[in-house]
Assembly symmetry: C2
Homo-oligomer: 217 residues x 2
C-alpha cells in the first residue's frame, strides 16, 4: 500500500485529463514518437497548453516544456499515478443491452481493466457467457466476488433497483461503483460512487452547440 | 434566435451541474416541495453549498439563499437556459448493443430529448424498429436527417469508423455530436463534439477509490 500514499492529490478534472493524456501518449509511443512539446501535445489532446503545463507540474518532475517531454517516461509516471500497472478486476451488475455492450468491449484499450464476472436477475441470462465472461445470479454475489477478488463494480441496473443493487455489492466488499443510473445512491463512508448521466451529457452538448450556432448568427 | 443571445456563458462544469440541479428540482417539484435552501439542496445534489450559491449567482436573480429558492421558478429559469422547452430531435448512428440501449431508454426522463431516427450499415438491422424508432441505411442520411429536422447526433460507431461517420452527418447538417468513441474527431469550426469515454470514467473512479482506501489505512 506504500505507493498509494505517494500519489499526488489531484482534482477530478485533472484526473480525467491524466487518463486522456495517458491514452494519447500510448498512441504516440505506438507511432514511434519519443519526445513531445506541450504545444504539440495540446493540439493532439485538445487541452490548452497552459492547462497541460499546469497539470504536468503537479504530477512531478517531468522535464522541461520547451525541450519537450520524454514519451516513455510520461507513460510510466502517469500509469503509476493511475495505477494501471496492476490488473483491476471488475464486476458488472446488469446484463441488458448496455451491460452487453460493456462486456463486448470490456475496456480492451486498457489491458489492466477487466470485467471478470457479471450478474443479473433474469433467469434467461444467468449461465450465459458474453465475450468469455459468465453471468451469475445475484444470489451468488458473495461467493463470486470473493473468489474473483473484485472490489470494483459497474452498475447498469435501472434506477428503481439501483440503490438495492449497490447496497448488495458494497456488503460484499466492493468499494468503488460506476453507476449508469443517475439518481444519487446512499453509500457508507469510504465507498466511492461515480455516475455516468447520459441526459446531462447530452444537455451539456446541446448548450454548447446553441452557443456556437448563435455566434455563427 | 434572440433568446439564445441572452444565455449566460457558463463553464462546462457549471453546465453539467445545471442539468443535475434541474433534474433534482423536478423531483422536488413532483414531491410537492415549493421552496428549498441552498444547504438542503446541497445535501440532495451532493454539490457543496458554496458551489451552488456561486452557480446560482451566475444564473440570474434567483432569490435569497437564506430564505430559500422557489422551486418552480428555478425550474423555469434553468429549463430556459438549458433550452429543454423545445424538443431536441436526435439521430442515433450505430445500432449495436449500446445503440439499442440508448433507443430503449431514449432519454425518457426528459420528454424534450428524443432520438427520432437511427442508422446502421448492417443489412440485418436496417428496417428494424426499436422502441418506435426506425433504423435506416447510412445511404439515406441526407434524406432522413432533412425530413426529420435533426441537427444533433449520437454516435456509437466503433473508433475506426467514427471519423467517417461524423463527417457524413456533419455534411448533412448536424452541428452537435455526442461520441462514444473516445478518439478525437476532426470537425469544421462551429461543430461541437463531446465524448463519453468510459475507460477514463473508470480510471478516475479507481483513482478516487484508491485515495479513499489509503486514507482508511
Amino acid at each position: 500500500m506504500d505507493r498509494l500514499i505517494e500519489k499526488p492529490k489531484l482534482s477530478k478534472a485533472t484526473t480525467k485529463r491524466l487518463s486522456l493524456y495517458l491514452r494519447c501518449l500510448k498512441e504516440l509511443h505506438k507511432e514511434g514518437v519519443q519526445r513531445i512539446k506541450s504545444s504539440e501535445f495540446s493540439q493532439l489532446t485538445h487541452v490548452g497548453s497552459a492547462t497541460i503545463r499546469r497539470d504536468f507540474s503537479q504530477l512531478g518532475e517531468l522535464g522541461r516544456s520547451g525541450y519537450g517531454y520524454d514519451v516513455s517516461y510520461l507513460i510510466s509516471v502517469f500509469s503509476s499515478i493511475l495505477d494501471t500497472i496492476e490488473e483491476k478486476r471488475i464486476a458488472l451488475i446488469g446484463c441488458g443491452n448496455l451491460g452487453q455492450a460493456l462486456l463486448n468491449n470490456n475496456f480492451r484499450r486498457n489491458e489492466n481493466l477487466n470485467i471478470v464476472c457479471a450478474f443479473d436477475t433474469d433467469a434467461d441470462k444467468i449461465g450465459s457467457v458474453f465475450n468469455n465472461v459468465e453471468v451469475y445470479s445475484m444470489d451468488r454475489l458473495d461467493e463470486i466476488l470473493s473468489k474473483e477478488k473484485v472490489t470494483i463494480a459497474i452498475s447498469t441496473v435501472p434506477s428503481q433497483y439501483s440503490q438495492a443493487a449497490v447496497e448488495n455489492v458494497v456488503k460484499n466488499g466492493v468499494t468503488a461503483i460506476l453507476s449508469f443510473a443517475p439518481d444519487p445512491i446512499k453509500v457508507p463512508e469510504g465507498i466511492t460512487v461515480h455516475y455516468i448521466d447520459l441526459t446531462t451529457e447530452l444537455q451539456t452538448l446541446i448548450y454548447f452547440d446553441e452557443l456556437a450556432q448563435s455566434r455563427r448568427g
